[in-house]
């Protein structure tokens, strides 16, 4: 479904990604793990068109989307839930969600999606008329994911959904992600929480200083020397 082929990205003159390649197949949950500054978020930003790769290409369902404008890429069915939540504070929960559906046209579809998201995150239903900024950190993260789901994306990209949440909420967050996986949704998950992410994922990739250095089945990777040494401190 998504094929990233040897992309190279620079911030100004500073290289951020040297060579990143990976693939997400339909219905898969793929985790991308790596330390701070490894280039995880940069990779997602390049996919969604916020950054333009210097070389390499990105293919989505056979269409070359390298360097295309974000609005177009989102319309093709990729949704990106940025890290640190980024919700619209002065708008209500429901307005936030409706903005996520903004690529849909039929009113019926929109209502269906809204019901679906409220089913997945009942907390949001309770708070539908509250302003986004009054939600707790965990609720805001759910709102951001719920908003991403509103457009019924073919591929959902989550950037560090557990960032800054307390441990109990992190567990809840991963539970929500596993629910999405059971639905059969294709997900690309970027995480620093290496263990949880790899346990949940079908496959994983490890990113280090702008390169994909290893890949494999989620649990397999978790057992590998490289992960044990670099991330888990074993």
């Amino acid at each position: 479904m998504l094929k990233v082929n040897q992309i190279k990205v620079h911030y100004g003159r500073i290289p951020a990604l040297h060579e990143v390649s990976f693939e997400v197949k339909e219905g898969e949950l793929v985790a991308m793990v790596g330390a701070n500054g490894a280039g995880k978020s940069t990779t997602l930003k390049a996919i969604v068109g916020a950054l333009r790769p210097v070389s390499g290409n990105i293919e989505f369902n056979g269409i070359d989307i390298t360097g295309k404008n974000s609005a177009k890429i989102v319309r093709l069915g990729i949704t990106y839930v940025p890290e640190a939540r980024h919700i619209f504070g002065p708008l209500t929960v429901e307005e936030n969600l409706l903005l996520g559906a903004f690529t849909l046209d039929s009113k019926h579809d929109i209502e269906e999606r809204l019901d679906h998201v409220y089913q997945l995150f009942p907390k949001l239903n309770e708070r539908r008329t509250q302003k986004g900024e009054t939600l707790s950190g965990g609720e805001q993260q759910m709102l951001a994911i719920g908003r991403g789901l509103m457009s019924n994306p073919k591929l959902l990209m989550l950037d560090e959904p557990s960032l800054g949440l307390m441990p109990k909420l992190v567990t809840e967050m991963f539970k929500a992600i596993s629910l999405l996986k059971e639905e059969g949704r294709t997900i690309l998950l970027v995480e620093q929480n290496v263990r949880e992410a790899l346990e949940l994922a079908d496959r994983g990739y490890i990113l280090q200083t702008g390169r994909t250095i290893s890949s494999g089945q989620g649990t397999e990777l978790l057992e590998s020397e490289i992960v044990k040494k670099a991330f888990l401190g074993l």
Partner: protein, 331 residues
């Protein structure tokens, strides 16, 4: 279609006290000319409605869009000159000149928006200010527009509804009220429209908006274009109300700043903010002017504005409307 009409006329989503306040406000405006017989009072009222109208338009880009535009006077000027010149050269009726003025202002805004929205924040504000000043200078040097001497309209036997010239200020009062209420209803629709929500999303967080598939750049350009068109309406009114315009009168920097300030003082990005801001600043401006006399020339009024602006920025950036909302939540 029915949904659109409902969005235009329905204030149902606003709290009760706002709806009651709005009705009371409308009633006061409607009976005002029959209650207040002071000529100066009536002039102040008309100017208040005019600036509330300007504020409503500017609130689109400046409030809902969060882009500080310091050049709205150019659009006022386009409207004013469209009406004045077409009446002067070709005797065109008022109601024909208004849409033309709006189209000219919108087209110019669209043209300059393209490069200007490559800039952000302060840089954008400075760019808008410069564009407006360039237009003013062009009008000063252009003979066809009357140059620095401006355009004077021939006075017609009154009242005349084709050219909208009236001897009595009562007519002008209801005339500007009509324009004002039309724009208010437009804004009431706009804030609930798709573009309205896109715009608020862009204001709150450009990256998040882009991640939802909103074309940030396009949203800003369209809004700036509409804002331009709305600014021209008040300009057309100024022409037939004052019957004389020149670039210093309809396109100065002071005007751009006063328009932006009424909205910021009242509460940018809220439906009622521009009206509240105009209700405070315009009487203040008029009575301060009358009281200071020649002192106004020294810029004392600007010092007063500056103090107000600093207090607003320091205490409540969401303006007076922000204070009202905060008090209501407490009480």
């Amino acid at each position: 279609m029915r949904q659109v009409l409902k969005d235009i006329f329905s204030f149902e989503d606003r709290p009760r006290f706002e709806r009651i306040g709005f009705v009371v406000f409308i009633l006061i405006i409607l009976v005002f000319p029959w209650m207040v017989h002071s000529a100066y009072g009536r002039v102040v009222m008309i100017k208040f409605l005019l600036f509330a109208l300007f504020g409503l338009g500017w609130n689109l880009i400046g409030g809902y869009g969060g882009q500080v535009d310091l050049g709205q006077a150019k659009n006022v000027g386009f409207g004013a000159y469209a009406t004045a010149l077409m009446m002067f050269w070709w005797n065109t009726p008022f109601w024909v000149t208004v849409p033309i003025g709006m189209i000219v202002a919108a087209a110019e805004s669209f043209g300059v928006a393209y490069p200007m929205f490559r800039l952000k924040g302060h840089y954008f504000a400075i760019a808008t200010l410069c564009v407006a000043l360039v237009w003013k200078e062009l009008f000063v040097f252009w003979d066809w527009t009357g140059g620095a001497r401006g355009v004077e309209l021939t006075i017609r036997p009154t009242p005349d509804f084709t050219y909208m010239q009236f001897g009595s200020p009562i007519y002008y009062h209801y005339f500007i009220f009509l324009l004002f209420i039309t724009q208010l209803l437009f804004m009431n629709w706009f804030r609930k429209s798709k573009l309205g929500y896109e715009l608020q999303a862009v204001r709150d967080n450009e990256d998040a908006a882009a991640s939802l598939g909103i074309n940030v750049y396009r949203t800003k350009v369209i809004t700036y274009t509409i804002t331009g068109g709305l600014g021209a309406v008040g300009g057309s009114f100024m022409t037939v109300y004052y019957l004389y315009i020149d670039p210093d009168f309809v396109m100065p920097l002071d005007l751009s700043i006063l328009i932006a300030m009424t909205v910021m003082v009242g509460g940018a990005g809220s439906l009622w903010g521009p009206i509240i801001g105009a209700a405070i600043l315009i009487p203040l401006d008029m009575y301060l002017g009358a009281w200071l006399g020649a002192g106004k020339r020294l810029g004392i009024d600007f010092m007063v504005y500056a103090v107000i602006m600093m207090v607003i920025a320091a205490r409540e950036p969401r303006g007076i409307w922000g204070i009202i909302e905060r008090l209501r939540k407490k009480g």
